[in-house]
Amino acid sequence: MSREARVGALLALLAAALVALPLAANSYFLSVATLVLYFAYTGQAWNVMMGFAGQLSLGHALYVGLGAYAAAALFTQFGIGPWAGMWLAMALCVAAGVAIGFLAFRFGISGVYFALLTIAFAEFTRIGFDHIGWLGGPGGLFLKVEAHKTTDLANLRGGQTMFYYVMLALAAGAFALCAWLLRSRAGYYWRAIREDEEAARALGINTFRWKLLAVAISAAMTSLAGVFFAFYYNNLFPEQIFHISQSIEIILGPIVGGVGTLFGPILGAAMLTALADALNNLVAAMGWDIPGVKQVFYGVILLLVVMFVPNGIWPPIAKRLGLGRGG
C-alpha cells in the first residue's frame, strides 16, 4: 500500500470505530470518550499555533473561557442558542488573539517572553471575570439543567450520546481543517517560520501576518471548545475555566502525542485521559484515598514520557506503520 492508502485506511478504521462507539459503550465510557475528543480537539487547535507556526502559547484557557462565557451569557441572559452564540464566541476570541498577537509580534516578543505574555493575559482575564458581577463573578455562571429526556440539538440540551457526537464532529472537523492547512500555502509558510523566522522573512514571507493568522485560527477553534464546555458542564467558574491548569491540560495531549503532527494530539489526549481514568480506578481499588496520590502518579508518568520520548509518542509509531514522519 502507498503511504496515502495506509493513512486513509487508518482514518477510515478510526472513524468507523468512533461513529459506532455509542452502540457498544455505556454512558460512563461514553463520557470518557467525549473527554478524549475534547482534548484531541483543543490539542489540535493549540497545535496550529505551536506545532505549525512555532508560537508557544501557555494561555489557551483564555480562549476556552471567553468562548464559554460568551455563549453562556447570550444563552442565559438573552435566550440566544449556542449555534448563534458560537459566532460571537469565535469573533471575541479571534479579536482577543489578534490583539495579543499584534502587540506581541509588533513589539518583537518571542520565545519564553511570548509564552509568559500569554499566561499574563489569561490570568488577567481570570481575575477580571471574578469581578464581573453580571456574569456571576467568582460564584459562577450556571446554565439551567433540565431533565435530559429529549435531545434538543438546537439548544445543545440532551444526553451523553448527543454531546459525544457533537464533540466527535468538532474533532473530525478540526482534523480535516488541520490536514488541509498543512498542505495549504499557510502551512508551508508557518513551518518555514517555525524552523527559522529570519530566513522565512528573508525569503519574502510576511511573518507578522502569517503568525497572526495562526493565532486567529487557533483562537477561533479553541473558542468552540469553550462553547461546548459551557453547554456540557452547565457551570462556569473563572477560577476553573481561565486557570493556568486548564491551559496546561490543553497542551499536554499534543506534547505527549507529538507536536506538529496530525495524529499526535488525538493519541496524546487518548493516552492521558485513559491514564487519568485508570489512576482513578487504581487509587479507588487499592484504597489509597489520600488526596494527591493520583496527581503524583500522573506527574511521574508525564516526567518519564518527556524524558524518554522527547518528540512525542506518535512519530515513532508513524515510522513503524510506514506513515512517514506522522505529519
Partner: protein, 289 residues
C-alpha cells in the same frame, strides 16, 4: 484616608516586596545562566515554607535561623535536580522544558498534599505581633526582620557573583556558553551550581515568608506566577531588577488591596507585567537580548 495609613501600607508593601524579590532572584539567576524558566519555583518555595513550619514545630527554631539548614539542603537538591533531570533538556525546545518542570511542580505540590493535607499551617514567634512606632508610622518587627534577611541573602549572592572565581566563571557561562566551553569551564557543574544557588535563594525566601503568611500545599502555583511577574518587570536575568521588581509588586499589591479590593491585587501585577512586556520587554533593569 489618612496619610499615615497609606504610609503604613506602602512600608509593609516594600518590606514584603523585598522577600518577594529574594524569591524572584532565585528564578532570575537560574534563567540568566541556565536559560531554563523554572516553572516549579513557587512549589519549591512552598516546600521550604513547610520545612520552616516543621522545624519550628519540632525545635521552636526561629524561621530566620531555620533558613540556614533549609538553604543548605535546597542547594544540594537544586544541584541534583539540574545535574540529573534538567541538564539534558537545556538544548530542547521550550515547551519540552515547560512540561518537565510542570511535572516536577505537580509532583511536589501533591506530595505535600499527601503528607500534610490541605489545611494551612503557620508559625507563631513571640515578636510576630510587635512593631516599632516612629510617629504615626508602624514597622512590623516580623516584616523588618524578614526584609533584612532577604537583603542580607541577596547581598551575599551579589558578592559571590561579582568577586569570587566561581561566580565569575558562572557569569562567563551566561555571557557566552560556547566560549565558556572553549576555555575549559565545566559548564554542566557550573549550571548545577547555579541552580543550587537559585534553590537556596528560594529556600531562604520561603523560610522567612512564614513570618508573614501561612502555608498550604495549594499556594505554590501562585508564587510561581508571582515570581514570573517580578522577574519580567525587573528584567529576566538581572539580579538588581529582581529585587526592584519585588518591591514594585509588593507596593502595588498593598496599594491595590487598600484602594480597590484585595482580591483584585494580582490583576494589577499582571497588568503591570503586560505593560512592561510591551513597552520594555527586557524589563526595567534588563539588558537588550
Amino acid at each position: 484616608m489618612s496619610a499615615s495609613l497609606i504610609a503604613n501600607v506602602v512600608i509593609a508593601g516594600v518590606l514584603t516586596g523585598l522577600v518577594y524579590g529574594l524569591m524572584a532572584l532565585g528564578l532570575s539567576v537560574i534563567f540568566g545562566v541556565v536559560r531554563v524558566v523554572n516553572f516549579a519555583h513557587g512549589e519549591m518555595m512552598t516546600i521550604a515554607m513547610y520545612a520552616a513550619v516543621l522545624l519550628f514545630g519540632a525545635f521552636k527554631l526561629d524561621p530566620l535561623l531555620a533558613a540556614l539548614p533549609v538553604a543548605a539542603l535546597f542547594f544540594g537538591l537544586g544541584y541534583a535536580l539540574q545535574a540529573g533531570l534538567i541538564n539534558p533538556f537545556i538544548t530542547r525546545p521550550e515547551h519540552s522544558q515547560f512540561i518537565l518542570l510542570v511535572a516536577v511542580a505537580t509532583i511536589l505540590t501533591n506530595v505535600l498534599l499527601m503528607v500534610f493535607g490541605p489545611d494551612a499551617r503557620n508559625v507563631q514567634t513571640d515578636y510576630m505581633l510587635d512593631s516599632w512606632a516612629i510617629g504615626q508610622v508602624l514597622f512590623d518587627k516580623a516584616r523588618v526582620f524578614a526584609a533584612l534577611a532577604a537583603l542580607a541573602t541577596a547581598a551575599g549572592l551579589f558578592t559571590f557573583f561579582r568577586y569570587s572565581r566561581t561566580g565569575t566563571a558562572i557569569r562567563a557561562c551566561a555571557d557566552n556558553h560556547l566560549g565558556a566551553l572553549i576555555v575549559g569551564l565545566n559548564v554542566k557543574h557550573l549550571y548545577a551550581l547555579t541552580f543550587g544557588l537559585g534553590a537556596a535563594c528560594v529556600a531562604v525566601a520561603g523560610c522567612i515568608m512564614t513570618l508573614l503568611v501561612e502555608v498550604a500545599p495549594s499556594v505554590g502555583p501562585g508564587y510561581t506566577l508571582l515570581g514570573f511577574v517580578i522577574v519580567i518587570v525587573g528584567g529576566l536575568g538581572s539580579m538588581l531588577g529582581a529585587l526592584l521588581g519585588g518591591v514594585l509588586i509588593g507596593v502595588s499589591e498593598a496599594l491595590a488591596g487598600l484602594f480597590i479590593d484585595p482580591s483584585a491585587k494580582s490583576m494589577f501585577s499582571f497588568g503591570l507585567l503586560i505593560l512592561v512586556l510591551l513597552l520594555r520587554p527586557q524589563g526595567l533593569l534588563g539588558r537588550k537580548p
